[in-house]
């Protein structure tokens, strides 16, 4: 089974609740589900919608066309009708006109009844969510479709997580003790999730500004706590001075950067991958750092863990780079046991001996110096630190990941949240996807792969192809304009969109003939 459904309505009508009930039910029943949220910067009214993709195979992106439209208002019907598939259906609010408050649930249950989702499970779920009081007559709604064959289970239970929750879990499991943040979409998710996870070993503070938050975190980190802060692009700009402070003082600092379309306030509740440049370069002066970019929730748990671990191991600046699409979309996966690395302080702490950290260059006593010799020595020490960090990452962590046909000559390159759409979109095509996980330091494998490939295609959610530029800087190989698939309207890629673009760019279907002959013999006209 594979379905792509849209639930839309005005803000406040409970679209998120309805979609979370549907996705929860399906993932508990063994299906994979992906939930994309499209909402405006307002609290009541307007037009919001969620797109849910359900499949018995792993799915991490949504499609352009819908099998069902669950319309909670007229506007939803009008706006999205054109994207209905050939035999697609609309479940309209008009049928339940008298139901005002629970309209979302009525429509959700109607949908579930229509496709034959086991009734018992629906009843149980509603009882769990809203108590014993029956607010939706599930039986009544199901009766109309009682002849419908019941949907079979999709397999074992899957886990469903948003990127924000995943990062919060990853950080908590690494031993996070202190988190400070200032509300800013889409980084607020992590602030909320960690706020709810507070216990005797974790304290979460909402600071007076991003500058206050990052300074709090530097102070707490200096005093010995495993600390972290998170923000979005604008807040990250404010934090820049303190990133530089980290570089000079060596106090470990881990920052979660959830990007959204800029410049300035841009379209604040939508998505973009336009902050790679500032993640790599923000802060005056030259100092070491590393940047990780998780592509889905499962990866976000792991990478948040690795980021905190490495930050404290190497006393460096660690940046977890995500975006709205990662932070707020729901990802499903097979739960697996993760062995979490514990972040530990790897420096002298002020309660044991006199420790001085400074924004100035320091002499061996920790005091201010202006000596040319010492200044150069300190610079060299910082560079050496980066070399050690780089070696550690190259040796022990996965800098790049590969998907698709390993032998293919078509190399698709991307990073972060485009991962889902790329993997789903190139299914069955003659292509190999290289996901850059550690954007800094870059893996050595990248150059080899790029040199080997006959055609390189770049996919990014920004206007200028920031990763492409970085790769050109690092490898000297530039990706042709026509091979750069860039999207910058604030919306993430759909899988069919990626597929169409790849095909247009000359990536063919993977055929039986190719399997027999071997790809090497198939002639390609253009290089890269």
């Amino acid at each position: 089974m594979e379905q792509n459904i849209l639930i839309g309505g005005a803000a406040g009508q409970g679209i998120n609740k309805a979609s979370s009930i549907i996705t929860d039910l399906f993932t508990e029943y063994g299906y994979y589900a992906f939930n994309y949220r499209d909402y405006q910067s307002l609290i009541r009214g307007g037009h919001n919608f969620n797109v849910i993709s359900i499949s018995d195979k792993p799915v991490n992106s949504s499609q352009k066309k819908y099998d069902f439209i669950l319309a909670l208002d007229k506007r939803t019907e009008k706006l999205h009708k054109g994207r209905l598939k050939k035999h697609g259906q609309i479940i309209s609010f008009e049928k339940f006109k008298d139901e005002r408050r629970n309209l979302n649930l009525f429509i959700a249950v109607e949908y579930l009844a229509k496709i034959g989702f086991p009734r018992k499970r629906v009843e149980k779920k509603l009882a769990k969510e809203f108590g014993e009081k029956i607010i939706v007559p599930v039986e009544g709604l199901y009766n109309k479709y009682h002849r419908k064959k019941e949907l079979k289970s999709g397999g074992s239970k899957r886990k469903l997580l948003t990127g924000s929750k995943a990062i919060a879990i990853g950080a908590k499991m690494s031993g996070l003790q202190f988190y400070a943040g200032y509300p800013m979409t889409p980084s607020t998710g992590v602030l909320h999730e960690l706020g709810g996870m507070q216990d005797d070993n974790l304290m979460v503070v909402q600071g007076e500004s991003e500058i206050g938050c990052v300074s709090n975190v530097l102070g707490a980190s200096f005093a010995g706590k495993i600390s972290m802060t998170g923000t979005s692009g604008g807040g990250f700009d404010l934090m820049s001075e303190s990133l530089s402070m980290q570089g000079q003082s060596g106090i470990p600092l881990c920052v979660y950067l959830a990007s959204r379309p800029g410049p300035a306030t841009g379209v604040p509740t939508y998505t973009a991958q336009a902050d790679l440049d500032i993640a790599l370069r923000a802060g005056h002066g030259e100092f070491p750092r590393f940047v990780v970019a998780p592509g889905d929730a499962q990866e976000a748990v792991k990478l948040a863990n690795e980021a905190l671990y490495l930050t404290y191991k190497h006393n460096t600046l660690g940046i977890i780079l995500g975006d709205k699409h990662l932070a707020e979309s729901g990802f499903s996966f097979n739960p697996e046991k993760i062995k979490f690395l514990k972040a530990k302080q790897n420096r002298d702490l002020p309660d044991k001996k006199i420790v001085k950290a400074s924004s100035y260059e320091q002499n061996k006593f920790g005091n201010t110096t202006e000596s040319a010799r010492v200044v150069k020595k300190n610079f060299d020490a910082r560079m050496k630190k980066y070399k050690i960090l780089k070696k550690d990452i190259e040796k022990n962590f996965e800098g790049v990941k590969f998907y698709g046909r390993k032998e293919s000559n078509n190399l698709v390159i991307g990073w972060g949240s485009t991962k889902g759409a790329i993997i789903d979109g190139m299914n069955g095509l003659d292509a190999k996807f290289m996901q850059v996980v550690y954007v800094k330091p870059l893996s050595r494998k990248i150059r080899k792969e790029m040199e080997k490939a006959k055609r390189i295609i770049l996919i990014e959610n920004n206007q200028t192809g920031q990763l492409g530029r970085l790769l050109r800087e690092a490898t000297g190989i530039s990706i042709k304009d026509k091979n750069r698939i860039l999207k910058y309207d604030g919306r993430p890629f759909c899988c069919d969109e990626v597929r169409g673009e790849l095909k247009k760019g000359g990536v063919g279907e993977f055929t039986e003939r190719m399997k027999r002959k071997g790809v090497k013999k198939v002639k390609r006209r253009s290089r890269r």
């Binding site: 003790q177 202190f178 400070a180 507070q198 216990d199 005797d200 070993n201 974790l202 304290m203 503070v205 600071g207 007076e208 500004s209 500058i211 206050g212 300074s215 709090n216 975190v217 530097l218 102070g219 707490a220 980190s221 200096f222 005093a223 010995g224 706590k225 600390s227 001075e241 303190s242 402070m245 003082s249 106090i251 702490l349 002020p350 309660d351 044991k352 001996k353 006199i354 420790v355 001085k356 950290a357 400074s358 924004s359 100035y360 006593f365 005091n367 201010t368």
Partner: protein
């Protein structure tokens, strides 16, 4: 070796000869060493954070753990240290430019948070390390290279600002009176909560007009009355050339809840004992 000697470093002091910062440094050393002598405190119990400016050179001359912060960020960093290890007492040294201009966004929240730390403001009513521009506490008419026509605004009254923000300990000192300053600093450190100490200081190079106010200063008895505090705060507006300047503990509220009392985790994170012994109520 005496504690006071242990507090010194071998760095060359680069303040101008005769700068009142020497006297403030002396008072800080005196306060810390006396508190250590009395018992209950040791050098490892203190952490300092300093801002950027002349005052901040304290960092190099005091043998204490600390962070030499960016301009305007000594206060939030100090708060971070408080959260990170509430067993330690944090002394944040800032200048008037740093805390009343660049870092003022942090100040009212620090008063509200009421963390157990001390903020020491070296207020010489001018930016001195950047060669004499006017700060928010400079007097009206102060002529600088930026404002040859003279500073157009009236100064901010930090004591009133602190009172309005809900500060729990407010004191003013004269940099030249080492014994009194040390005495007030000790009271500030002993205060459970956020203590704000404003040290009125001359600058021998810039803004000479506001120097030598000593004859107008008088010491008040420690005050715990809010109404009296407002009256005392209004006596000196940082602008006038006449009128008296009250020194000492201008206001203290000993009943306000500290940050640690409001956040049970903070005691648990660090473990029991230290300054917070018996103060932190755990959950359940």
């Amino acid at each position: 070796m005496k504690i006071k000697d242990k507090l010194s470093t071998r760095e060359e002091v680069t303040w101008c000869p005769g700068c009142p910062n020497f006297m403030i440094l002396e008072s800080v050393k005196k306060a810390i060493s006396e508190m250590s002598d009395k018992g209950g405190y040791s050098l490892k119990d203190f952490v300092m954070t300093t801002d950027i400016g002349c005052h901040a050179k304290m960092f190099d001359y005091l043998n204490l753990s600390g962070v030499y912060c960016l301009h305007g960020r000594a206060l939030p960093t100090a708060e971070g240290v408080c959260i990170g290890n509430p067993k330690m007492h944090v002394l944040a040294f800032v200048g008037d430019g740093a805390i009343y201009a660049e870092g003022i966004g942090h100040l009212p929240h620090a008063f509200r948070n009421n963390m157990n730390m001390t903020l020491v403001v070296h207020d010489n009513q001018s930016y001195s390390l950047t060669t004499g521009q006017s700060t928010p506490t400079s007097q009206q008419g102060f002529k600088t290279k930026v404002k040859p026509q003279g500073e157009e605004n009236k100064p901010l009254n930090p004591i009133l600002f602190a009172l309005a923000s809900g500060a729990t300990f407010i004191a003013r000192c004269n940099a030249k009176n080492i014994n009194h300053t040390a005495d007030v600093l000790m009271k500030a450190i002993a205060h459970k909560g956020f203590s704000f100490v404003e040290i009125v200081q001359d600058c021998l190079i810039f803004n000479l007009e506001m120097n030598n106010k000593d004859s107008r200063m008088y010491e008040v008895v420690d005050n715990r009355n809010l109404d009296v505090a407002f009256t005392l705060a209004k006596e000196f507006d940082y602008n006038s050339k006449r009128g008296r300047i009250p020194l000492g503990v201008l206001y203290q509220n000993r009943n306000a809840k500290t940050f640690a009392q409001k956040w049970p985790q903070i005691g648990k994170v660090v473990g029991k004992g230290g300054f917070y012994k018996g103060q932190v109520k755990g959950r359940k």
